[in-house]
Subunit: 297 residues, 2 copies
Amino acid sequence: MKESRNRAGYEIISENASFGGRQLRCRHTSTALRCDMHFSVYLPPLAQAGASDGIRLPVVYWFSGLTCTDQNFVQKAGAQRVAAELGLILVAPDTSPRGDQVPDDNEGLWDLGKGAGFYVNATRDPWKSHYRMYDYVVDELPCLIHSAFPVDADAQSVCGHSMGGHGALTIALKNPDTYRSVSAFAPISAPSQCTWGQKAFRNYLGEDKSLWREHDAAALVTECRPWLPLLIDQGDADEFLQEQLKPELLLEACRKAGYPVTYNLRAGYDHSYFFIATFIEDHLRFHHSFLMPEANQ
Amino acid sequence: MKESRNRAGYEIISENASFGGRQLRCRHTSTALRCDMHFSVYLPPLAQAGASDGIRLPVVYWFSGLTCTDQNFVQKAGAQRVAAELGLILVAPDTSPRGDQVPDDNEGLWDLGKGAGFYVNATRDPWKSHYRMYDYVVDELPCLIHSAFPVDADAQSVCGHSMGGHGALTIALKNPDTYRSVSAFAPISAPSQCTWGQKAFRNYLGEDKSLWREHDAAALVTECRPWLPLLIDQGDADEFLQEQLKPELLLEACRKAGYPVTYNLRAGYDHSYFFIATFIEDHLRFHHSFLMPEANQ
C-alpha cells in the first residue's frame, strides 16, 4: 500500500465539485483482482452537510459495459444532478482488472479480457489469477466504500448498462438480501445464448454450462427469491438488441417464473450514453423509492 | 462537395435519440476555413413535432475551449435535457480548422494551432490560409444552420467556456444586433493581458495591439452598444483563474463603462465540465428568457 493512501487503503486522485456535492476518482490495490484499480464515487451535498451528524446515505452501484472504465458513466450520464437532489451516493467501479501484468485477449478484441470482465470469477487459466470481478464488486469494493464513505450498508441498489446490466441483474438476483432494487439499461439478458456471453463464459468459466447458469439473468430469475424490484429500459433502435441483448428471453423467463419486471421499450433510442442520460433520472428515482421509502410516501 | 451530402452541403455522420429529440453530428466543407469540419446540432422534440407546421425555434451556439472539439459539450454538459424542455436548438462547432493540410503548432503545444483557433481571423502566415474561425462561427456556420434546420434566425444567443467563453463574449459584443444574449463559463476575459491570449494574438494577428483590442472582451465592453444581457459563471477553485482568465479585468471594465453584467463566483468549482454541467441549466434558462420572452412572462 502506498504511503499516500489513507487508513481505508485508497487515495483520491481527482476531485471535482458537482451539483453542490463532490465527484471523486479513487485508486486502491484490490486483493480480489491482485492489481491497482480505479473507482469513482459521487457524494451528494447531504453527505457533506450531514457529516457531523453521522448521517449515512443510501448508495447505488453502477456497472458499466464493454470497453468502459469507471469514467464513462461519471462524465456522460448526468446522474450527479439527480443524486444530488435525492441524496444518493453513486459508486462506479471499473469493468475488469487492469495493468501490464493482467492477461488480455490475444487478438486485441474488446469483448474479452481488459474492459470485459463480465462480473464473474474466472476459473480457468490465464484468467483466474486476476479476473475475479464478482468478488470485487459484491464484497471487496462495498466493504471499502462502507469503511470510507457515509454509506448506509443496509440501503444498496444496483444498476448497469449492457455487460454491466448483465452484471447488475445477475449479482442482484444471486444476492437479493444485499440490494433493495435492481435496474438495467439494455442488459445482456441471456448471456448463455449470445456470442458475447458465450465467448466470455467459455474463456472465464469453461464448458460446464451449469456454471454459466449461475451468471445468466434469464436462468437466475427462475429460482431467485425473494423478488427484488426490477426495472429494465431498452431502446428499440439498439444495434445490439437482436444479436446480443435478447431481452425477450429474460422477459419470457420472468413470465414463466412469475417474476415481476417493469420493461420499457423506448422508441428510437440506441445503445449509447445519450439513451442512458435520457432515462437515468427514472432509474435513480425508482431506486430511491425503495432505498428511502419513507421519503416517497 | 461529396455526393452523399444534401442540398445544404452537409452530411449527418451520427444521430442519437436524446431526451425525445435528436443529437446530430454533421460534416461539411467550410469555405472560410478551407477544410472539412464537424459540428453538432441538438434538435429538441419541438423541432420534430413542429416540422409540418413550419415552426422555427431559437438557437443557442456553444463555443468550446482549448483542446476541445464539438463533442465535449455534447457528451458532458447534459444540456440536451434542458434544451428539450425549453425548445432550444443547440449548435456546437469545433474549435479550429482541422486536417493534415492545416498548419499546427510546431512544438505540439495545445494553446496554439489545432484546437486553439481563438475565434479570430488570422492575418499572418502560416495561419491566415485556414484560421478564420471568426468568419466561420459568425457567418458561414449560422448561414448553413438556417438553411438546414428549423431555426429562427432572429432568435440567436451564444455561450461558451474558457477560450470559447472569450469567443462568445467578443463575438456578441462585436455583433450586438445578431444575438439576444451572451453568457460564459470561466471565460478568458482579457486575452491581451494573459499568456494564452498573448501567444494566440501574436501568432494569429501580429504585434499591432489595436487588432488585439478587437478581440478582447475587457476592451470591447467600453465601446459596445447596445448592451446585451450578459451572464458569467466562474468557479473560485479554477486552476486558471488568476493567470489566464482574469475576470476582475472584465468586471472592472464593465463597471467603468456602465455595462451591466451578472457575475456568479461559485465556491469550490474548477475549470471542468462538472462545473459546466452544474450550471448549464441556469445559462440556458437565462438565454431562453430573452429568446422567448413571451414564454417567460
